[in-house]
Amino acid sequence: MTGVIFDIKEMAVHDGPGIRTTVFFKGCPLRCRWCHNPEGLSALPQIFYKKVRCIGCGSCQVACDHPECALLGRCIHACPENCLEAVGREVDAATLAGELLASAEVMGGLFGGFTFSGGEPLQQSDFILELAPRLRPHHLCAETSGYASGDVFARLLDVLDFVIFDLKLAEPAAHRMYTGVDNAPILANLQTLKASGKPHLIRTPLVPEITDTEENLAAIGALAGESEWEKLPFNALYGAKYEMLGMAPSEIK
């Protein structure tokens, strides 16, 4: 089967132990207001338009038969400034595994492993279940919001060595308001993760006045319990990519 990914990042140093290669899966059920990876939201390939680089030359207004250009009505392979870029590509497990293993081979015994990030990797769990055995014996990690059915989560957990579990808001209403979804499945999966004994890390993005409130951090602290818990400083540039996708940050509300 195939999956849709939007990036492969070498030397990801904040995505688990050692020097890792992270693959970003496209598509996410959450709509966090502070999301800084909007290209991971839609499950479909999209076009990135880097407006600041556009010199208005009109070269893109040329007839072409590239399927990826069809929805845009402009050719993305004609821009001399590379302002238009396809974000997301469909790839089969064998091809993706081949690409990923090449970076592992370069690092030899010093390679840390692979991390599945996104978007939300749980959204493409069947694909990951097919991909994971092809990446063995390397260390495998997922960075997830935990939003999936208990069944899906448990099956994926089975093929992983390490989980980075994003825990944003403890209070259900606030979670619905700021991420668009209920946190009940997330909290249930957190219990599954903790009970599994699998090494993991809980992560909370510190969004001013939303997630970094005293009450929320206290509640998440309680949920985290004995688990390792990391608070991530907020990425103030979160809005920069929206315009490139022709989206407004407000669209994700």
Binding site: H14, I19, C57, H77, P80, N82, V106
Partner: protein, 661 residues
């Protein structure tokens, strides 16, 4: 860590002591028809006599210049005659040597005077005379500590670490005043460690007081450096080598090496330039320790790989014990301390220019890619021949004090007299060849004439072709054998072109991977190139990927750049990687950058230099230079204060590939 002395020197307040030297020595010497060597020693005597001793508050290591300029020894007219008769390299004075400071420090100048020629002896007398005046000044100021040190060194051998450092400072000061430039520090942790060790054992110093002393000593490299000649501020060649093996293969890294890494990080100054010799057997912790310095943003250390460099130097004809003792010249050229007189930067060969000539002359008639590549190699060979035959009668102004501190007769040359040639724009050429191979000969999707026309037209009327060549064709740095093998073949071809050639001093020619400032100069000598590079766009520095190439990341880059065989192309020139400073945010990630370096070394890379940069800061610094006086960036083989650079060098730093998290 800021100290009053550090702030004082960093802000340039010490420059208030400077005066202009109005002596017209060249005219005077010309009128007297003095010999070159007489002029050199007489100038040194006059300048040192005109110096005014200044001892700054809080400093432990003294000596700084108070005369702004060093008048030339020859008139312009005389230089014309000299240049008509001889080949003159750069300024005509000796440069890029690694003198034997150790001998001067351990034996003292009075002892060396016994072996010196009359000119060397006069130079020594002049140095000791200025030292005595400094000592009187110290007494006058109540600085008995300094007076005691100057009573011993450099006249006699140093008996403590502090004396050894002060002695070094005076020797270095005098070598620059003699008119030599780009004088390197050499394997400092090797020759200085015995003094430190003895003082620690005797309880004269603690690790903490030793570090403070080293920091003070490191500051001294920045007192006069703005007066030194160079292409840009910072290009002054005060390179220090740490670590590495000795002639028996034993690791030399010691406590002093660690303290030097720390002192550089604490001072945050661009001199001395820190280099570190490592190998596959270097412990992982040392890479982490060194990465702490990378994180500071100075562009230090620059790594070189003993596993690659030493055997390569031996295969070029260097004696094993000399190869094991290698250091770097001003930037990254591998040279031998004390006995080597290699001119490691005599010229540069442009790969893209060779390709450009073949493109215009030969492509139309080529039946296959192999035919075309053979034409490129022929052009590389022709250029190498031009470079090698151009220098027939090399002459340097004789430097008697440098001669005192070299273990060879430097007037005549050294044990090694090889010439190094840089190789510029390897990525531009390899990427261009990959385009020609794939689209012209394999896919046949671009016609020969069509490509030539687009290149000559700077792609003005071929936006689609430009897009394809620039953004969708194979690029060096992606661990793709298709193009990586072309780069390796170019390097091999360059080495072949120099094989068997002898220079006018009896040495060989060494192929290198550096670019020096030619990444701008050579790029302007040709128009656009088939890799989609537009006219006027610079090449990458040294052994780097193209500025606009889309690369997968640093792991693929090190894979690509360690594939070539460096054993025949070992003049030096590093792969440079720029990382966003946020990558170093936590301790864990610093260790991981160290792991990447270790892997580069294991894979057989020869030289590596990493930078921590923040693009936002660089862009803001262009707008508000007054807020960024201390912002440091790496240029090609040296670090500089960003705001002191010319715009074109600033822009190049901004345009480089930056890897973030």
């Amino acid at each position: 860590m800021s100290t009053p002395l550090l702030d004082y020197i960093a802000s340039g307040k010490h420059r208030a002591y400077r005066r202009v030297c109005s002596l017209d020595l060249a005219a005077e010497f010309a009128a007297l028809k003095l010999s070159p060597i007489e002029r050199m020693v007489r100038r040194l005597e006059r300048m040192l006599a005109a110096e005014m001793p200044v001892i700054l508050e809080d400093e432990q290591i003294c000596f700084m210049r108070t005369l702004k300029n060093l008048p030339d020894c020859f008139t312009e007219e005389e230089w014309k005659d000299i240049r008509a008769e001889y080949d003159i390299h750069e300024l005509g004075y000796l440069s890029n040597l690694s003198p034997n400071y150790s001998r001067g420090i351990s034996r003292g100048l009075l002892d060396l005077r016994n072996e010196a020629d009359e000119y060397g002896a006069r130079a020594i007398d002049a140095i000791l005379d200025l030292t005595d005046r400094y000592r009187e000044k110290a007494i006058e100021l109540g600085r008995t500590d300094i007076a005691e040190v100057l009573a011993r060194v450099p006249r006699y051998g140093a008996s403590t670490f502090r004396e050894a450092l002060q002695s070094f400072r005076i020797l270095h000061f005098a070598l620059w005043y003699e008119g030599n430039y780009h004088i390197t520090v050499g394997r400092f942790d090797r020759y200085m460690y015995p003094y430190l060790k003895a003082d620690l054992e005797a309880g004269i110093l603690t690790e903490e007081s030793a570090l403070a002393l080293i920091e003070d000593f490191f500051i001294s490299f920045n007192k006069d450096s703005d007066l030194y000649p160079g292409v840009q501020q910072g290009d002054n060649g005060q390179s220090m080598m740490l670590g590495g093996v000795d002639e028996n293969g034993c690791d030399c890294f010691n406590l002093l090496s660690s303290l030097c890494l720390k002192a550089s990080r604490n001072n945050m100054m661009i001199d001395p330039k820190i280099n570190l010799r490592v190998s596959a057997s270097t412990p992982a912790e040392r890479f982490t320790e060194a990465t702490e310095l990378t994180k500071a943003g100075l562009g230090f250390p620059q790594y070189s790989n003993d596993d690659v460099v030493i055997p390569a130097l031996i295969s070029l004809g260097y004696a094993p014990e000399d190869a094991a003792n290698y250091t770097v010249a001003a930037c990254w050229e591998f040279i031998i301390p004390h006995v080597g007189a290699d001119v490691a930067n005599i010229a540069a060969l442009s790969y893209p220019a060779a390709l450009d000539r073949a493109l215009h002359r030969d492509l139309a008639g080529c039946e296959s890619y192999e035919d075309f590549f053979a034409c490129v190699l022929r052009e590389i060979g022709a250029e190498a021949e031009r470079i090698c035959s151009r220098i027939k009668k090399l002459w340097f102004v004789p430097s008697p004090f440098m001669n005192v501190l070299m273990d060879c007769n430097i007037y005549e040359g050294g044990k090694y007299n090889n010439f190094g040639i840089h190789g510029t724009g390897i990525a531009t050429a390899a990427d261009s060849l990959a385009v020609i191979k794939r689209y012209v000969f394999e896919e046949r999707s671009i016609g020969k004439a069509e490509l030539l026309e687009a290149v000559d037209d700077n792609f003005e009327h071929a936006p689609e072709m430009l897009h394809k060549l620039r953004y969708e064709s194979p690029k060096l740095g992606n661990n793709d054998d298709y193009v990586d093998s072309i780069a390796a073949a170019l390097l091999e071809g360059f080495a072949d072109s120099l094989e068997g050639k002898r220079n006018c001093r009896g040495g060989i020619f060494r192929a290198g991977t550096g670019s020096a400032m030619y990444y701008l100069w050579h790029a302007n000598e040709i128009g656009a190139s088939p890799d989609g590079r537009r006219r006027g766009e610079p090449f990458g520095t040294n052994f780097s990927v193209s500025l606009f190439a889309k690369v997968k990341g640093p792991v693929s880059v090190i894979a690509s750049m360690t594939k070539p065989n460096f054993s025949r192309a070992i003049n030096g020139g590093p792969l440079t990687l720029e990382f966003h400073s946020s990558l170093f945010a936590d301790e864990g990630s610093t260790e991981k950058v160290g792991v990447l370096v270790k892997r580069f070394i294991e894979l057989g890379g020869h030289q590596l230099q990493l930078n921590a940069v923040s693009l936002d800061k660089l862009l803001d610094a262009q707008k508000h230079p007054e807020n960024y006086r201390q912002l440091v960036v790496r240029i090609w083989g040296w670090s500089a204060y960003f705001v002191e650079l010319d715009r074109e060098y600033q822009d190049h730093v901004i345009a480089r590939q930056v890897y973030s998290i």
